[in-house]
């Protein structure tokens, strides 16, 4: 088995290490922020268009001024449809897997939670067209919610690693991802209706994904997009040793629609809706179907599965190129419903049903104004959650034993986030560009029905908090030829206590039970970041170092009591610590059509925790589920006219044996001693026989290796043959 560097990371074959070193000398991904990555086919198409043809082409406009990521004072990446066509990812989180600093953990086959710079779940933010997916019921640790966004409804992902609380509010600690959805070509351009069908099949997933969409004009001023996906995932097959991972199958269907209406040439009104429905997502690691691999244990439940539904409806207004002080206005009004039900059958045939329904009303207003003291971006945001949560326990014969006062979180509750933010991109001072930003947020929680852990009786609780955060970024152009940029940033972020922190009454880790807490305050973080970017005609390089100071993380704290044989834990602001890391990415054009790419991610961090059920013992230990050192090496070839392309890729991950006490206890997901290292070889290719049809194929995990992403509950697919066909008409 291939291993990586000496020390805690595995050792490497000398040849591969040398290759990594050579490739890391050179360039980085040349993707423009807000712009579609230009394939050779696109470039040839652009060159071939005459002025007359250019005047007729309908264009897709960015909702803000597009900026080259080379000139951004932080690490940012745009992941586009070209990447989707190349990677053929099964889910939206999988679409992020090649991003430095990101680890896509999977508790179940139908669940995926990206760790960005050491943080996941409610310490990262996913936006859909600028609207928060996060709500007040998200629990600590990895969750399933990012998997409720259909990647086939998404045109582009914009990833910003690091603190984003000033612009995006609570939870934006590790990073923020904005999923920009598909839409129709512009109204009034005289274009006819267009359609698209897409099919993806995978052998190791036993899956079929089908997607269809149509776009077209409705009169002279409106355009409509409708789309839908149907997905059937069978049992996941691991590598040569593990084989079938039973009961990992599930089904999903998705629908999306968007209507754009031009109130004026520079004013667009959008009405959109999307629905995602997933059935029977089994969390097998806690059941008798958990796999035996590298000493893993599994639970005794007969079944543990999840049904998930999400519905988002929104109305947005975007006005650009306005005269007067305000140059740009964006407004959004949204209704977001997230509904989940968990079913659990114990070994004694008793069962439990628990569910949460969250209805979020959201609105935000963002304005942009140029001025003598810089370009201002400022606005307000407001989100209100209505939450219902319930639980039932059934006897072995199916009769109802009890109905809980609450479900996973308090029932009959509400939660408010109200924020005001401002950012100023100051005028350049010679080669230096400076950005200052700040935000004030007011948070209010009202938990209607909570079960008292001692008496079992209902009670209610309400509280509110205020948080002020700020940040500064500086970008320095190091040379007159604009080949080298350096940047430095300092930014605060925060995470307000949510209903899960305040009222969760559920299984926390293996063998523990969590009871509600009502004394917590907002977590606070301070991140320092520095980076270097270089760009030449044949090579590019980006290197980033970050350090996040963790001030008062809300951590599980043992009370010393037990409930039903499980150790009782609750929450308090007792976690101080840090996480630091390095992210490298480089690209070198070996020949006109041949490009070598490399990325490297390294992270290290500690946070205080209570490793035992003894409330008097607190230690500083490794952060839970920290990404092991990971490298991606790739060689890409593309036909000059873009008709064919091919890629060979190698992903290397070191062994991760820096474990928190929670990780060590979680032997259902993390093997004793840590998650083994792995080396995975992938081959990908594409063919475009005509301009409206694209065929992609991949053989992933060529050597059929058994491996899992650190902290996951399932192994990754073994040798996997993937086919994708995309037809546009």
């Amino acid at each position: 088995m291939m291993t990586l560097l000496p020390g805690n990371a595995p050792r490497c074959h000398a040849g591969l290490l040398a290759l990594t070193g050579v490739l890391l000398v050179v360039a980085s991904v040349p993707q423009a922020w807000g712009e579609e990555a230009a394939t050779n086919a696109t470039v040839q198409q652009l060159k071939s268009l005459s002025f007359e043809e250019l005047m007729r082409v309908p264009v897709v406009t960015a909702t803000r001024v597009a900026t080259d990521p080379f000139d951004l004072p932080f690490f940012a990446k745009a992941i586009t449809q070209s990447d989707y066509e190349r990677m053929l990812p099964r889910t939206l989180p999988n679409w992020l897997q090649e991003t430095p600093g990101v680890m896509v953990q999977k508790t179940a086959n139908g669940q995926a939670s990206p760790y960005i710079r050491g943080f996941t779940g409610f310490r990262t933010v996913l936006l859909i067209d600028g609207i928060r997916l996060n709500n007040s019921t998200f629990r600590d640790g990895p969750n399933q919610y990012w998997n409720t966004v259909d990647p086939l409804s998404v045109n582009r992902l914009e990833v910003v690693s690091g603190p984003g609380s000033v612009l995006y509010g609570s939870d934006a600690v590790g990073g923020t991802v904005n999923a920009l959805t598909m839409g129709a070509p512009a109204p009034g351009t005289g274009n006819d209706w267009q359609g698209r069908t897409f099919v993806r099949a995978s052998s190791a997933e036993e899956s079929i994904t089908t997607h269809a969409e149509a776009n077209g004009p409705v009169g002279d001023k409106a355009a409509l997009h409708v789309g839908g996906s149907w997905k059937d995932f069978g049992d996941l097959h691991g590598g040569s040793e593990v084989g079938t991972q039973p009961h990992t199958d599930y089904g999903e269907y998705d629908v999306d629609a968007k209507l754009d209406y031009l109130l004026a040439p520079n004013v667009k009104l959008t009405l959109a809706h999307q629905t995602v429905s997933q059935d029977d997502i089994s969390r097998t690691h806690s059941t008798i179907y958990g796999i035996n691999w590298e000493g893993l244990t599994h639970g005794t439940d007969l079944e543990r599965s999840l049904d998930q539904d999400r519905h988002l409806t929104y109305l947005q207004l975007h006005a650009t190129e306005m005269s007067g002080f305000i140059e740009k206005i964006s407004f959004s009004l949204s209704d977001h419903i997230q509904d989940e039900t968990q079913y659990r059958w114990r070994s004694n045939l008793s069962s439990e049903e628990a569910g949460v329904n969250v209805n979020t009303l959201g609105t935000w207003l963002q304005l942009e104004s140029p001025s003598p003291v810089g370009r201002w971006i400022y606005g307000v945001t407001y989100y209100h959650d209505w939450v219902n949560s319930e639980s039932r326990i059934y006897n072995a014969d199916g009769s109802l034993r009890s109905t809980g006062i609450q479900g996973p979180v308090a029932d009959d509750s509400s939660y408010d986030l109200t924020g005001v933010f401002v950012q100023d991109n100051l005028p350049s001072l010679g080669p230096v560009e400076l950005t200052l930003r700040g935000r004030y947020e007011h948070i209010a929680a009202d938990a209607g029905r909570i079960q008292d852990p001692v008496t079992g009786l209902p009670y209610s609780y309400s509280d509110s908090w205020d948080s002020v955060v700020g940040g500064a970024h500086a970008l320095v152009h190091l040379d007159e030829q604009h080949h080298w940029n350096a940047y430095a940033a300092i930014g605060q972020s925060f995470r307000a206590p949510n209903l899960s922190d305040l009222t969760r009454f559920d299984i926390a880790g293996s063998g523990q039970i969590e009871t509600p807490s009502t004394t917590v305050e907002p977590e606070q973080y301070l991140t320092y970041e520095a980076g270097l970017k270089a760009r030449y005609a044949r090579w590019e390089l980006e290197a980033t170092y970050f350090y996040t100071d963790i001030r008062n993380m809300i951590i599980r704290s043992p009370t010393g009591q037990t409930i039903n044989g499980a150790a009782e834990v609750t929450k308090e602001n007792a976690g101080a610590g840090y996480v630091q890391g390095v992210e490298l990415q480089a690209q070198f054009r070996l020949l006109e059509q041949l490009t070598a790419l490399a990325t490297l991610s390294w992270q290290e961090g500690e946070v205080e925790a209570y490793p035992t059920s003894n409330p008097g013992v607190k230690v500083s230990e490794p952060m839970s589920r920290l990404m092991p050192m990971t490298s991606l090496l790739a060689l890409r070839w593309e036909h000059p006219k873009g008709k064919y392309w091919a890629e060979a890729q190698c992903v290397l991950a070191a062994r991760q044996d820096e474990l928190s006490s929670l990780d060590q206890a979680d032997t259902q997901r993390i093997p004793p001693g840590g998650t083994p290292s792995y080396t995975v070889w992938n081959l990908r290719a594409g063919w475009r026989p005509c301009k409206n049809f694209t065929f992609s194929a991949a053989v992933e995990n060529l050597t059929d290796e058994d491996y899992r992403i650190h902290g996951s509950g399932v192994n990754e697919p073994g040798r996997n043959f993937i086919l994708g066909a995309d037809l546009r008409f």
Binding site: P30, Q31, A32, W33, G34, E35, E36, A38, T42, Q45, L46, L49, F51, L54, V59, V60, T61, V65, A66, T67, D68, D71, A186, P187, G188, T189, D192, Q194, E206, D235, H237, G238, V242, G243, L262, P265, N266, I288, L349, S351, P370, P372, G398, S399, L400, S428, G430, P431, E480, H482, A537, P689, C690, F693, D704, F721, A725, L727, R728, F729
Partner: protein, 207 residues
């Protein structure tokens, strides 16, 4: 919330873990279906109208700039040497990313290679043949145009009112398509010549 009847899966129906199956699990029927679908999709290449993926605003504007270099004549004194490149400068926030570089890569105009250069405000803008002035420079526009007065530099922007303020070519968005406004007086004052074919396609603006 949907409710599943309790006991829907019993210990008997749950059963022991299944035996491992071969990792490559496509049966002949599925393979045949996939092959038939693939052949049908290939055939559809000839039958369908061939809608191309959408181009973005700045991909199209990059193509415009490339086309301008093909249709403009610069005076001989605009170049220091006979093989000096045609420099396309970008002043202010760069909205093109890589696309402009990729469109002009390895391209030649009348024997001169095309190169793209990002400029800082304190650099000499007259070293360019084409200068794209970003919207971020809106406040400084009068000073920039004054600096370039009389120089054979084709100025292009996509800011409101650029041509009316003395700029030469403005790329404007009309109903989500990119159109041209040309200030012919500004072009001729700079000693540049624009193809009459181009002038017929553009909206002529008088300052």
């Amino acid at each position: 919330m949907r409710r599943r009847p309790p006991g829907a899966r019993t210990a008997e129906s749950a059963g022991p873990p299944e035996q491992s199956a071969p990792p490559f699990h496509l049966d002949p029927t599925t393979i045949g279906w996939l092959l038939r679908t693939f052949v049908l999709l290939l055939l559809s290449c000839r039958l369908t109208s061939g809608a191309a993926p959408n181009l973005t605003e700045y991909q199209v504007k990059a193509a415009y700039i490339y086309n301008f270099t093909q249709f403009m004549d610069w005076p001989t004194n605009a170049f220091a040497t006979t093989n000096a490149p045609v420099v396309i400068g970008i002043l202010g926030e760069d909205p093109f990313g890589r696309i402009l570089d990729e469109v002009v890569r390895n391209e030649v105009v009348r024997g001169r290679p095309l190169v793209v250069k990002r400029l800082r405000p304190d650099e000499d803008l007259r070293d360019c043949c084409v200068l794209f002035i970003s919207r971020s420079e809106k406040e400084r526009l009068p000073a920039v145009l004054h600096q370039l007065r009389g120089s054979p530099v084709l100025t292009i922007s996509d800011s409101n009112g650029f041509a009316q303020q003395g700029g030469m070519v403005n790329l404007i968005l009309v109903n989500q398509t990119v159109k041209m406004e040309i200030n012919q007086t500004a072009v001729e004052t700079a000693g540049l010549q624009v193809s009459s074919k181009l002038l017929k396609l553009a909206r002529i603006v008088k300052p």
